[in-house]
Amino acid sequence: MLRFLARRSLGALVIIVLISAITFALFFALPSQPALMSCGKNCTPEAVALINKNLGLDQPVPVQYWHYMAGIFTGRDFTVGHCPAPCFGYSFSNQQPVWGTIVDRFPTTLSITLGGAAVFLVVGVGIGMVAAAFRGTWIDKFFSSLSLVGNSLQIYFVGVIALAVLVSGLHWMDNPAYYPITENPVKWFTGMLIPWLVLSIIFIANYSRMTRSQMIEQLGEDHVRTARAKGLGRRTVFFRYAWRGALAPIVTIFGIDLGSLFGGAIITEFTFSLHGLGRLAVSSVSETDLPTLMAVMLVGCTAIVVANIVVDAAYAVIDPRVRLA
């Protein structure tokens, strides 16, 4: 297990370094002239030169990249001042250290993604199991036609309808908002509930369909038949034997879906005006605030890669065969 984790972490590190290098090269090496962007519309050549010097943009790109990456671990000294340890540079738009903004925004996105994932895993897998248990009946047909529509729903449409019905129509809930879980868990939960439900809706259909087909396949396997033949109860066979086998492929797909889950969180943030990383990325796009954008990109990639390792480890726990591979 430890070797498995070590190998996976090494691979992840290579991926992160490559992605950061490519992103950095795209942002800072292209003829886009970051200094020109940070300087605004009325800009003199002297001002550009000053900004270039202050930000170290007058050095060759590989050197810049090295300083940037080293700065994340050791901090950096700019002419404007010292930037402490996880230093992602200063924002072009508000001149604050980028890391502070990231720390500020990250919990919102994390809450949306984790909660949304929990909802669609529980509901999606649950529906799939019910459909498999009642295979061929009207329940099964009902869920499969539902999943066809569910598959084609969009967050930016369902989200607005949910707001119109639940918040401004029936007044059942307040507008979604983020409250730190440490301060007020109840408010955190109620504030995040609509985003979770809406984010999960686009995934539920896929997961229920997959669980259903996996369960049906597993229920036809020899070991399940043996378990049934030796007189185990229906419930034990269903949950202990078939479900466990069906779970492994679902976990794999979940690992693949992490990226689109993060993407869904960005759209969700926009639909419900929540201030998370996605919104930060978009606002830094419109302000061409490259350091912030770069940091969001790096943090996003790292989060997805790390989550992938966690999923893989979970997979190894569920299915002992992969540990040998």
Partner: protein, 303 residues
């Protein structure tokens, strides 16, 4: 094959629906001419009595009437039907172009990697892995301005055709890997089969083997994957415009209608239903079509 497809009722209906959407997109200028409205004219501002003092349509249901079938847009008072028709045109154009590019690239790289094998396969495989590791939505957002700045300097306005090109480019660069990987796997197993070996023995060139022996066996996955790819590109493009990094005013766009709808939902919920329902119908039809195509090409997979 065609007969099998024709017997599949949902498949035929969804094929008609999909064709309808493409026709609407192609014939958008004709529709707007016949219907007598322009997507950019602000009827609500030009003609008094259509919008109230807060900028919302006076008539109920978002101002639906004999003149404005789908109602009026709040604040600007543009015609919703022509906005939607032209919006579908923009989104479908971008998605279709990106799909064609992705399919061509995916086929080229997937078949090359699978057929040549060895070091080429390994390098292409690692390259695909790397591109797949990019979080796609975030990369779309982050790289769009970079591509813009490649074409125009930051202080100038980006023209619309460049925005369209940029979106196509970004969708293309991060969209072809799934198909390539799938085809590589298929080719790996196909090239060991007897008919390929026979072709090799008779002295056929690699090009002939790929085009005459391998490709005919790959049409099914290619077709099925492209029917999945196109609607996903439409929704991604709409999502980008929704959050404001895609197509901007005044060009009509499907996704931006959702952004407007989200703005006005409290006073005028009708507005968002037209783009919303249109998109659901579009994606459902495409998914059903993909299923039917697969069934028609490969009768073994029962549903």
């Amino acid at each position: 094959m065609r007969r099998r497809f024709k017997r599949d009722r949902p498949g035929v209906v969804s094929a008609y629906v999909v064709t309808f959407f493409f026709l609407v997109a192609l014939a958008a200028p004709l529709i707007s001419k016949l219907y007598g409205k322009d997507p950019t004219r602000t009827y609500g501002l030009d003609e008094p009595g259509l919008l109230n003092e807060y900028g919302y349509p006076v008539k109920p249901n978002g101002g639906m009437s004999g003149d404005f079938w789908f109602g009026l847009e709040p604040t600007l008072g543009r015609d919703v039907l022509t906005q939607l028709v032209y919006g579908i045109r923009t989104s479908l154009l971008i998605a279709a172009a990106a799909t064609v590019l992705c399919v061509v690239t995916g086929v080229l790289i997937g078949v090359t990697a699978g057929y040549l094998g060895g070091r080429t396969d390994y390098l292409l495989g690692r390259f695909i892995d790397l591109l797949l590791a990019f979080p796609s939505q975030l990369s779309f957002i982050a790289f769009t301005p970079v591509v813009y700045s490649l074409f125009v300097s930051p202080e100038k306005e980006t023209p619309t055709y460049l925005r369209v090109l940029t979106l196509i480019l970004v969708l293309w660069v991060l969209g072809w890997m799934g198909l390539a990987r799938l085809l590589r796997g298929q080719v790996l197993s196909l090239r060991e089969r007897e008919f390929v070996e026979a072709a090799k023995v008779t002295g056929a060139s690699p090009w002939r083997i790929i085009t005459k022996e391998l490709l005919p066996n790959l049409w099914t996955p290619i077709l099925v994957q492209s029917t999945l790819m196109l609607p996903s590109f439409v929704t991604i493009e709409a999502g980008l415009s929704f959050i404001g990094v895609g197509i901007v005013e005044p060009t009509p766009d499907w996704g931006r209608m959702f952004a407007n709808g989200a703005h006005y939902y409290e006073s005028d919920i009708t507005y968002i239903f037209f783009p919303g329902l249109a998109m659901i119908v579009f994606v459902v039809a495409f998914n059903l079509l993909g299923d039917s195509v697969r069934d028609a090409f490969d009768p073994r997979t029962g549903r």
